[in-house]
């Protein structure tokens, strides 16, 4: 899914340009926040149908560039997601932080990676995330049955490779040489 060492032809074409430092560091944060915020605008949904896009993009960045987002990134990013997600406040902070730790631990023990293993790993994390979100929401007073989230789980798992491609595209934008060197 992710080409780790893709040849960056653009930087070779423009030898006197360098990537913007602000964009290179801040763009992942920005895209995750937009992923948390924007999907709610598309429709007034009467069932959970959209995949948790903020979480998917967060996961995508973590898998594409381990270490680019620090392990504690779940705290600020999850805080932002909680403001808009409708889940009990703190749900995303907790689950995103746990996701980062789990992913780090697995990556230390499993250095082999390819499309299938990364997708399987993401699949497990996504399913766990959505199920735990449902559990926390139910704990906070809702009483949604389990079958409500089945379509969302399927959509999220199937759309993850696509999100991975989009994150890879973001990564190229992030490293686009736009600052003129003098």
């Amino acid at each position: 899914m992710f080409q780790r060492s893709a040849p960056r032809t653009t930087s070779r074409q423009r030898i006197n340009h360098a990537p913007s430092r602000f964009l290179a560091r801040g763009f992942p944060w920005l895209t995750v926040m937009l992923g948390s915020l924007v999907p709610g605008w598309f429709m007034i949904a009467s069932a959970p149908v959209m995949p948790p896009l903020g979480f998917l993009i967060y996961l995508g960045w973590r898998q594409l560039r381990p270490g680019l987002l620090p392990i504690w990134a779940g705290l600020p990013l999850g805080l932002f997601d909680d403001l808009f997600s409708g889940q009990p406040f703190g749900c995303a902070v907790l689950l995103w932080s746990l996701t980062a730790i789990a992913l780090e631990i697995v990556e230390v023990r499993l250095p082999w990676r390819n499309f299938v293993t990364e997708w399987l790993m993401a699949m497990g994390l996504i399913v766990a995330y959505i199920v735990l979100c449902l559990a926390l929401a139910n704990l906070a007073g809702a009483a949604s049955p389990f079958r409500v989230i089945v379509p969302q789980v399927v959509i999220s798992v199937l759309s993850y490779p696509l999100v991975g491609r989009v994150v890879a595209m973001f990564d190229r934008i992030r490293l686009a040489p736009i600052v003129l060197l003098r």
């Binding site: 069932a47 896009l53 406040f89 689950l95 730790i101 009483a143």
Partner: protein, 295 residues
């Protein structure tokens, strides 16, 4: 490549400390998250001011995307309408003729109603619209069903006010920010609305299922009198929702009630109306007010 037996990141003390600290910060983040979750479980309204601020801040962009959403839907409706226009036109003419007769009858009935009520000195306080606004966004990735309304305290919206579209009840206002408000949709599993059958007033509760349908629970258990296609309206008991607001239509029968479809699909409505509460609710309601827990 097998994982190295020695899992030290480096022989540099500095690098080891950095790794350790980043892990510690990650665990700290999880602990903070857990604390926040516990706080919001104990006191669900604790973070409402923060959420209100965030909704207010994202309000202009959300309004813009809401108008874009409306435009897209209208364009699609026009495109499809182009192909059906002939048959639709004929059908509408026929229905309009029938409806005009019905309207005349209804006018007579309501006049009679008013006269009878005047006779019995029953005056109904006339609840008006507080505000007309767009639903700008919703929690489309969560199992909770909240929507954000593009009007808040600046337009006299207060918590507990019912929200409806021209088709029927949409939900009620839960938290109010300065220019936005958070609406609990009727399909949320925490929302319980007292309803009655429109034709004969069989009382029931409509609880959200979380998947766009409602579960109708009859108050008087026994032989299930509901039939497919029955229209349910709010009954006004409990004093939050105005009586007679159309609410849902029964689609499936179950043993002790029915599954119903909401009449006003919130994604099909562009503007909604915020009404006054039917009766002033006693204290300002907490987030769990007027709702029933399953457990």
């Amino acid at each position: 490549m097998a994982p190295p037996a020695n899992r030290r990141s480096s022989y540099s003390r500095r690098a080891q400390y950095t790794t350790f600290l980043s892990y510690a910060a990650g665990v700290l983040g999880a602990a903070v998250g857990l604390a926040l979750v516990v706080i919001s479980l104990v006191n669900p309204g604790f973070f409402s001011a923060l959420r209100g601020l965030a909704d207010d801040a994202s309000e202009p962009a959300a309004q813009m995307s809401a108008s874009g959403r409306d435009l897209g839907r209208d364009t699609w409706a026009e495109l499809t309408g182009f192909f059906h226009s002939g048959a639709e036109h004929a059908r509408l003419k026929r229905e309009l003729a029938e409806a005009k007769v019905r309207l005349a009858e209804a006018k007579a009935t309501s006049a009679e109603n008013k006269r009878l009520k005047d006779l019995m000195a029953l005056s109904e306080p006339n609840g008006g619209a507080v505000a007309y606004a767009r639903l700008t966004s919703s929690t489309s990735a969560s199992t909770r069903r909240y929507a954000t309304l593009g009007a808040g305290a600046d337009r006299n919206v207060t918590p507990g006010m019912p929200v409806r579209s021209q088709m029927g009840l949409v939900g009620r206002v839960l938290e109010v920010g300065s220019s936005s408000a958070r609406v609990l949709l009727v399909t949320d599993s925490e929302s319980v609305v007292p309803v009655r059958r429109a034709t004969d007033g069989v009382p029931a509760f409509a609880q959200g299922n979380g998947d766009g349908t409602l579960r109708i629970r009859l108050i008087n258990l026994g032989i299930n009198p509901l039939r497919k296609g029955d229209v349910l309206v709010t009954s006004g008991s409990g004093g939050l929702y105005r009586p007679g607001t159309p609410m849902a239509v029964v689609t499936d029968l179950i043993r002790d009630g029915a599954i119903a479809r909401v009449l006003s699909n919130p994604s099909d409505t562009d503007y909604v109306m915020v009404e006054k509460s039917w009766a002033p609710p006693p204290p300002p309601p907490p987030a769990n007010d007027g709702t029933v827990k399953k457990r």
